[in-house]
């Protein structure tokens, strides 16, 4: 029932409060005496001369996308893990449920080997 999510709800509220509280405390308690020098951007004593945003190397993106794909794989493993015992105890799906997951993993291992061999996992 929905009531069983109540602890989650409380947890989220506490989490939010925990994040906001230090910032708010700082805002309220700390002294604020800004002047133009304090507010100016500081970059090793120079005037800031370029945008803080810069191009990232495409390799970050490659690592991130490979991470997502294997992250998704793990998301599929979770339901399997929760009913693994049940699979093992049911005659009709005992081997089927096991082999199925192995095939799933094997297909992704092909992708892993491919990415590895192509050097996508090296940073040089």
């Amino acid at each position: 029932m929905l009531e069983s999510y109540f602890p989650v709800f409380v947890f989220i509220l506490v989490g939010i409060a925990f994040g906001f509280a230090p910032v708010l405390t700082g805002l309220i308690v700390a002294p604020h005496r800004p002047d133009s020098e304090k507010l100016s951007p500081y970059e090793c004593g120079f005037e800031a001369f370029e945008d803080a945003r810069m191009k990232f190397d495409v390799r970050y993106y490659l690592i991130a996308i490979i991470f997502i794909l294997f992250d998704l794989e793990v998301a599929f493993l979770l339901p399997w893990a929760t009913i693994f015992k049940e699979i093992a105890n049911t005659d009709s799906v005992r081997w089927f449920g096991f082999i199925e997951m192995m095939v799933f993993i094997a297909i992704l291992v092909v992708g892993y080997l491919y990415a590895w061999a192509k050097g996508a996992l090296d940073w040089e």
């Binding site: 029932m1 929905l2 999510y5 989650v8 945003r53 810069m54 191009k55 990232f56 190397d57 495409v58 390799r59 970050y60 993106y61 490659l62 991130a64 996308i65 490979i66 991470f67 997502i68 794909l69 992250d71 998704l72 794989e73 998301a75 599929f76 979770l78 339901p79 399997w80 929760t82 009913i83 049940e86 699979i87 799906v93 089927f96 449920g97 199925e100 997951m101 095939v103 799933f104 297909i107 992704l108 092909v110 992708g111 892993y112 491919y114 990415a115 192509k118 050097g119 996508a120 040089e124």
Partner: protein, 200 residues
């Protein structure tokens, strides 16, 4: 109004607001962060429907992973913010008209039937049944075929990502310490014998 209905409208309002900010905020990083908020509230709506596994997966996969990718992409592109937004107001009237039309049509079609949808033949899960296990039972029996296809799609994703971004080894000037310590004197200095030349 029931508390559940109130929560639904509350979350939906945040969701719509966040989605609107995704396409209207001037800063792409802010847009990406609003998308995080949108995903997060969407997972809240799913929790309301008692689909806790899906809600969890949404947070883990989308908020945790896909958004990281989004931020990387946003930062990877050299975006000229002002130029990016130039066309927006020009397209707004047309887009707004189409959006309103679609909302109107949906209202007309669904109108009275809307509540009927929830009482349709879609089976409701038992209240105390674990969602993750129920999904697992279906996924590893009846849904084998889509399940394996999903892994093939993930594989194609890996192949496509690597094939499209992986460049040949670039020439960089980094040194490899393990090779460095094995260096011998003769690798460093080469003594050449040259006959002296007379200069005139």
């Amino acid at each position: 109004m029931e508390f559940k209905t109130f929560v639904f409208y509350f979350l939906s309002a945040i969701l719509v607001f966040a989605a609107l900010r995704v396409i209207t905020s001037r800063n792409p990083v802010h847009a990406a962060l609003f998308l995080v908020l949108a995903f997060f509230t969407a997972s809240g709506v799913w929790l309301l429907l008692q689909a806790e596994f899906l809600a969890m997966a949404l947070v883990l996969v989308y908020v945790g992973a896909v958004m990281v990718l989004f931020l990387f992409v946003v930062m990877m592109l050299d975006i000229n913010l002002d130029r990016l937004r130039e066309g927006f107001w020009g397209y707004l009237p047309m887009g707004a008209i189409i959006a309103l039309l679609m909302v109107g049509e949906m209202g007309l079609v669904l109108g009275g039937n809307y509540l009927g949808l929830f009482e349709s033949s879609v089976r409701q899960a038992g209240a105390d049944e674990s969602n993750v296990q129920a999904i697992g039972r279906l996924m590893f029996t009846e849904y084998v075929y889509p399940f394996e296809l999903a892994s093939v799609i993930l594989l194609v994703g890996i192949v496509a990502a690597v094939a499209l971004t992986q460049r040949e080894k670039r020439k960089n000037k980094s040194v490899n310490p393990s090779q460095q310590v094995f260096v011998k004197a003769r690798d460093r200095v080469r003594v050449l014998q040259m006959p002296a030349e007379k200069r005139d």
